[in-house]
Subunit: 341 residues, 2 copies
């Protein structure tokens, strides 16, 4: 019998509705049959809604929570004040090993803080990172860190290369994903000391069978899809991600204005609306933006706070794929291979 | 009689054709009649082409150059080896005060190096910065530094705030432009020490009549147009700019695919093609991407290496506006006001 994986889902504290969450979980369950869910939230509402999905209902445990973390809560405050929030209880279920992973749509800072305190960092990794899957011209790539750790140090960049490669090898099914370090140019002389140090180290490791270091990549290379993994510090990664989101929104807004500008362009829009929808779906942050907290003793995934059911099911699929391919074991294999170098 | 401004234009070493350059200069000259040009390049070709534009012909001096800087030349090499390049001669004309500003389409690193060595930094400013005008949901904003100075220091950030405010006040005709520091969150506790120091300093200066410090802004706020000026270090700015370019290109590519996906969407595209063109024009980096080197004793502007005539005329207009409003005097006024605080 195949192994069953349990996912703890925090349904409170974001604009993502519990209805979208349940619909998304159900969709993913139809594709990944060995899934079980612990769903933390308003039991009465959840009970009524989940009855629409027979299989999901059978595979889920509902845990009633009243307290939740709001988007405005400061991570430093909640540790003492909110000791029974749905988010914390979801994380505790992993700490207590009654669950394998956590999915949340809420406050990222709080999720990070709770995770660090309760699930803790893998012994093999210095600091956790947030990774995300970016669409690009060739398909998708992994970019990290997107804001977990804004300190700049070559060791964190190397850790991020290991975490990103582990993710990419599982999600994209490639044995040795190419790794680029985000920099302001491709020449060796570019960049800060910690970047040059990390590049030297990764070059040396490139003759192991796992690490496939490409070299420096620039901001536009993320969308070009030059490498499977793009490694950066949490400060640069966070600004890069949000710049991309802002640009996509600006593009979309101009496009909407343009299509409303005349009757003919309105007809044009109507005729091409299916095509337009596919573009939106391919780039929509509500579908793509889940941040995967890597480097902890268990997987924690934060989805966009305005996710719709498609985004929920997408994230739930990713978690299943990472669990069933034992991503943390993969990370340990990387570290072992590097240490034996 | 109104003052006449002379602009030195380097026409060699990029993919922008001399034909586009002359057409663009001519367009700008029709709008800014007190302009003169020194045009550095292949005299024979230029002479033939410029005869198409009577006014431009009358207002221009052609300077024949054979040597040019290629995109692959390393800044460190050219100083000794290329002593009569069109780019260097354009810069020398400013140093010798026979011209007021330089426009080039070539190698940015070389242009920076030549400018620093020959035009030199303003006494009032620690390090020059590259500024750019970004389209946003409300109009446009100034973002800097985009790669001139990748070192992180609060003093550079404050200089960038002064340079950016001077630019924005002239180009957007506002007396006290709002300034944001690019960061990974809006809360005071976010960011590195140099960011916090710069924020403290700018907050203190905010009761002068010139400095209007807003606070921290995030990557998506650039496109949202939250502030008139966005200040960052050259490393982060460069990656942010290139990420935005890459995202716009990805969006455009998906859109093109989508419109080709069926006959109906092709017809839709045809009907909405005018509207689509306006979107492209509003976001096209060939129109918008000129980097303004600020903080030197004279203005140096680098345009995208694939600029078309519209981009050339846009950049030439901007230079005229900055010259006729004496941008460097403006910078000095800012610094004086701050020092008297």
């Amino acid at each position: 019998m195949e192994k069953v994986y349990t996912l703890s889902v925090d349904t409170l504290g974001s604009e993502t509705s519990y209805k979208d969450i349940l619909k998304g979980l159900n969709l993913s369950l139809l594709r990944n049959i060995n899934y079980k869910f612990k769903i933390f939230g308003d039991e009465e509402l959840l009970k009524k809604e989940i009855s629409k999905y027979e299989r999901l209902d059978e595979s889920s445990e509902l845990i009633h929570c009243e307290e939740f973390i709001s988007m405005d809560d400061k991570p430093s405050d909640i540790i003492k004040t909110k000791t029974s929030s749905s988010m914390l209880r979801a994380i505790k279920s992993v700490e207590e090993k009654t669950s394998d992973a956590v999915l949340s749509f809420g406050n990222t800072g709080a999720l990070m803080t709770y995770s660090l305190l309760n699930i803790k960092t893998l012994a093999e990794i210095k600091r956790p990172a947030i990774a995300s899957i970016w669409p690009n011209l060739k398909g998708e790539s992994i970019v990290l860190d997107l804001g977990a750790n804004t300190k700049k140090d070559s060791r964190y960049l190397i850790d991020n290369a290991i975490l990103g490669s582990s993710l990419a090898s599982i999600l994209f099914k490639i044995s040795s994903p190419s790794i680029g370090i985000l920099n302001v140019g491709k020449e060796d002389i570019k960049g800060s000391d910690e970047i040059k140090l990390a590049a030297d180290e990764l070059s040396k490791l490139s003759d192991t069978s796992l690490i496939n270091y490409f070299g420096y990549v620039e901001g536009n290379d993320i969308s070009n899809g030059l490498t499977n993994v793009v490694v950066t510090d949490g400060f640069t990664g966070n600004i890069s991600l949000k710049t991309a989101e802002g640009t996509a929104k600006l593009f979309q807004s101009h496009l909407n204005d343009a299509f409303r500008s005349s009757l003919i362009s309105k007809i044009g829009y109507f005729l091409s609306s299916l095509a337009m929808k596919s573009v939106k779906d391919r780039l929509d942050p509500r579908v793509h933006n889940c941040g995967i907290l890597m480097g902890l003793n268990a997987l924690v995934v934060k989805c966009h706070g305005q996710s719709e059911f498609k985004g929920v099911s997408y994230a739930t699929d990713i978690i299943y794929s990472l669990l069933s391919n034992d991503v943390n074991q993969k990370i340990k294999t990387y570290v072992r291979e590097i240490q034996h170098k």
